[in-house]
């Protein structure tokens, strides 16, 4: 949320030797306009975040008398204290973390095993299995929320971690991302391991997975972010405040406070902090991971 930008200059794609002076000027003018537009949009995009942060540390009385001001002479953490007092925030952070980690681990293991089987081993129904899974990409999970809910209810898994986790594991996209990567592993490498007497499982564990760190981190990131931010599913299966995930818990606090905007913004900030921090730390990797899974 810090908006201290290094001035973005230099154009790597400007033609090295512009044939004519006029051309060069046009290029520079275009870059100036482009930069101006970009900076304007980027600042506009930061407004809601900065405004939330600014409002959350203002005294409640001040927000009422002058709601749209950005500054306060008396910064306070009162709104944050209210949120911690009213909700079960530590539980929600923990629940979100536990369910996201569980789902991510299960997805990465199950999806990479399946992708390895489809990519490297040979068996009778392999192609059929591949086509069946491919079809799954087109099934929008949310549309199936009713039977998924009924199944978990029948299994007695409402208000449990497993109830939040299990239906989110069959992530077909993850299988395809893994398979794409495994298809590119040189065949000789695997044949060599096999010739040495390694079982398929061992080949997967000791040869293929160590080579697959980039794709594992890409899948980890997009699954984790998706599960962490999922709203509809935990809203359905969790009603016990101590079992709620962060997004569901935060909306329940909103119902308690109604209008006081300082508290509203404080809960927004509290909800934003974990992933925004992670994003700041691993910006490059996250962006590449997400871009890599969508394309190619």
């Amino acid at each position: 949320m810090t908006a201290t930008a290094t001035p973005p200059v230099t154009d790597r794609r400007a033609p090295a030797a512009a044939p004519r002076r006029r051309k060069y000027d046009a290029e520079r003018l275009f870059n100036r306009v482009a930069l101006g537009a970009l900076v304007a949009f980027a600042l506009l995009w930061l407004v809601p975040l900065v405004w939330a942060l600014a409002t959350s540390i203002r005294p409640a009385q001040e927000v009422i008398t002058d709601p749209t001001s950005w500054f306060t002479a008396h910064p306070t953490l009162a709104a944050y204290e209210d949120i911690f007092a009213a909700g079960k925030l530590p539980y929600w952070y923990a629940n979100s973390f536990i369910t996201s980690v569980l789902t991510t681990v299960l997805t990465v293991v199950a999806a990479s095993l399946a992708a390895f089987a489809l990519s490297q081993t040979r068996f009778r129904a392999r192609r059929a299995a591949f086509v069946l899974l491919l079809a799954g990409i087109m099934i929008p999970g949310q549309v199936l929320m009713i039977p998924q809910f009924l199944a978990l209810q029948a299994a007695g898994l409402l208000n449990t971690y497993w109830g939040v986790v299990l239906p989110q594991v069959p992530n077909v996209v993850a299988v395809f991302v893994f398979k794409q990567f495994f298809d590119g592993i040189p065949r000789e490498l695997i044949d060599a391991a096999r010739a040495d007497g390694a079982s398929w499982l061992r080949t997967y564990r000791q040869i293929v997975m160590p080579l697959s760190r980039p794709v594992v981190s890409a899948v980890t990131i997009f699954v984790f972010v998706g599960v962490w931010n999922n709203f509809l599913w935990p809203l359905l299966v969790v009603t016990d405040p101590e079992m709620m995930t962060l997004p569901v818990g935060l909306t329940s606090v909103q119902d308690v406070f109604g209008v006081p905007y300082a508290q509203l913004m404080a809960s927004a900030v509290l909800g934003a902090i974990p992933l925004v921090t992670v994003f700041l730390l691993f910006q490059r990797r996250i962006v590449e991971g997400i871009a890599g899974t969508g394309l190619k």
Partner: protein, 302 residues
């Protein structure tokens, strides 16, 4: 099909089952939570299934289908959903394309743009809803304040006016998810070799011409991908609408997924809700199939 490779045969029986065995864990999840529920949805559409009684209930034939298709609310929520899809897809595809092309020209500041545009995308929908509850608040919100700067004395109630509510929600969604498309476009731009730019520049093409005639056409595949991912995501809208307006005012922002949620979970009419689910599924399926057809054609042209 006994075409196993030589080393496999040497290893005997256990090996034949390695492939299917490794496929098994994922397949179980897949069958339990996707295929099973899909089958249930199809079947329940033909029954008077209710959340209050156990089992499927009485056989209802096609009565759910006639009920849904003659229900004005079904068509209205579908219209709302399509309207939201148009309102979000157009800016989310075009604006992210423009911003990515511009950001691609700068090396040193790119991390800042990437942060500004992508950071909102990692926020939970609940946080986005909290932020925009305040931004769109009547009288005291930022949106109200800013419109008065432009000389509008009585700005509309952004979330309370049926004509504006969906537009406001769409704008919030554009802010929230633009970064994802932006990043996909940046990745697409990375794949355009530098020599292409240089060749076009030497041929005397100005920056604007290079973008129009070289860069945008070369991003064609990315644009198809971004558009379809966007349309499919927008057709499944629920979270931000549910939290910002609950589908109001007067149902003007109620989406198809919320109709499923309301009829299924609030009213307990599972049979009816299943029918709506299946129809929404068909709409999304058609969009995906059109995408596959387009991609395949584009790849053949190469």
């Amino acid at each position: 099909m006994a075409t196993t490779t030589a080393p496999t045969e040497a290893r005997g029986r256990g090996d034949r089952w390695a492939g299917p065995g490794m496929l098994l864990p994922f397949s179980l999840f897949y069958l339990l939570f996707l295929v099973g529920p899909l089958v249930y949805t199809v079947v329940a559409g033909f029954f008077d299934t209710s959340l209050l009684t156990s089992g499927l209930g009485d056989f209802a034939g096609l009565s759910n289908y006639t009920a849904v298709l003659s229900d004005d609310e079904f068509w209205r929520t579908l219209r709302n959903t399509l309207w939201f899809t148009v309102l979000t897809t157009v800016p989310l595809v075009l604006l992210s394309l423009v911003l990515a092309i511009l950001a691609d020209r700068f090396v040193r500041g790119r991390w800042f743009f990437r942060f500004a545009f992508f950071a909102p995308f990692v926020l939970p929908s609940a946080v986005v809803a909290l932020l925009f509850t305040f931004i769109y608040a009547d009288q005291v919100g930022l949106a109200h304040e800013v419109t008065t700067w432009f000389g509008v004395d009585t700005p509309p109630s952004w979330l309370g006016d049926p004509d504006w509510a969906m537009i406001s929600i769409a704008a919030a969604t554009v802010w929230w998810t633009l970064g994802f498309n932006f990043v996909l476009y940046l990745a697409g731009l990375q794949d355009i070799p530098r020599s292409v730019h240089e060749a076009a520049a030497i041929d005397g093409a100005g920056p604007w011409q290079r973008i129009r005639h070289v860069v945008v056409p070369m991003l064609g595949r990315t644009t198809t991908l971004v558009t379809v991912l966007q349309v499919v995501a927008s057709l499944k809208v629920f979270d931000q609408i549910y939290m910002l307006t609950m589908g109001g005012p007067d149902g003007s922002t109620r989406s198809s997924l919320q109709l499923i949620y309301d009829t299924g979970f609030v009213e307990g009419r599972v049979g009816y809700a299943s029918t709506v689910s299946l129809l929404l599924f068909v709409v999304i399926l058609l969009v995906s199939l059109v995408w596959f057809a387009l991609v395949r054609r584009a790849e053949k042209e190469r």
